[in-house]
Point group: C2
Chain length 198, copies 2
């Protein structure tokens, strides 16, 4: 991998392996092969697999939080914030750099996840939902977004559709379908268009 810190390499590698196949879809040996290190050396950085994945998800959450905070600073328009969020994932899927949200993938395996990891994953869903709710609520208040139900319900639906679109893109092996699904999702929230017009 890169020539930054080895533990960062391990985390980055584990992340992409998890994105590909989930918690039970990779082993220390897989990481060792990619990073160019021995299995035992990974244990030096992360004593157990649970430690590794918990750290990885915690860091992922930090990045996500930082991303949302940055979005609040850089973009004031709620609709544009949503567009940026969706666009971020569209790009990740298109260039196959990270074609799935780590937490979304792990959430699908929650029943077999170690508890400590599960807690982090659930926390991500709550904070993402909270942020989306606040964006939608603000957009509605400012008359920039048109909601058809409560901000919370709309936020959950938004999040669910984005996650589902990731899954569909993977199932079809076609990045373009992600935009096909998420495009109308954004349009529907934007006033100015008249959905009833045929």
């Amino acid at each position: 991998m890169s020539n930054l810190s080895t533990s960062d390499d391990i985390l980055a590698c584990a992340r992409s392996l998890i994105v590909a196949g989930g918690y039970n879809g990779f082993s220390y040996a897989d990481i060792a092969d990619v990073v160019g290190i021995r299995k035992a050396s990974i244990h030096h950085h992360f004593p157990s697999k649970v430690d590794l994945v918990r750290t990885l998800v915690a860091r992922y959450r930090e990045e996500a939080q930082a991303g949302m905070a940055n979005l609040e600073l850089q973009i004031s328009n709620p609709l544009e914030q949503l567009r940026f969020y969706v666009g971020y994932w569209e790009a990740c899927i298109a260039d196959a750099s990270a074609p799935f949200c780590v937490c979304a993938l792990l959430a699908s395996q929650l029943p077999v996840l170690p508890e400590e990891v599960g807690l982090e994953v659930r926390a991500h869903f709550r904070s993402l939902s909270k942020w989306l709710t606040s964006v939608l609520e603000r957009g509605a208040r400012q008359g920039q977004l048109r909601l058809t139900s409560t901000p919370r319900a709309e936020a959950e639906a938004f999040m669910a559709t984005v996650h589902g679109a990731m899954l569909t893109a993977r199932a079809y092996g076609d990045p373009k379908i992600f935009a096909v699904v998420t495009g109308p999702l954004l349009e529907r929230l934007a006033p100015g268009t008249i959905p009833d017009l045929k």
Copy 2:
């Protein structure tokens, strides 16, 4: 398990284990424990794990096809067909009998799935999408559904949202959120409600 054929018991058990944790989330030993049989006996019915899971997904697909065909016979109203489909999953999630679509879960792990299994999983997505497209298309033609984009795009969005809602319900450990997400999804397609009315 039940006292029907052993191979059916094995398939049923494997299905619920896959729904819980995916392809790598269970072993022959797990099934042996539940079914009350020895590991080696499972190999008699399904020589390899790939055989087992391929058969399982193929059967799941048959059931799904039969379900769609039956829906076409029993219910003529397209909106009611969609309601029934969503209600089916709502019930599965509520009673925890099958809180996730087997193919949706496996699709999330497509990169690490044996090819033969992956093919079946992708085929399910295609046929489900095809059916939803036809329902939406017919509904729009009959003036019973109001689409805001093409039937195909709307079908993909519908499917994605339902899959995402399954994931959300699992992440929150709360079956009710499934209806919170899918309810408005159906309402939006039904004419008669006026979304713009605050």
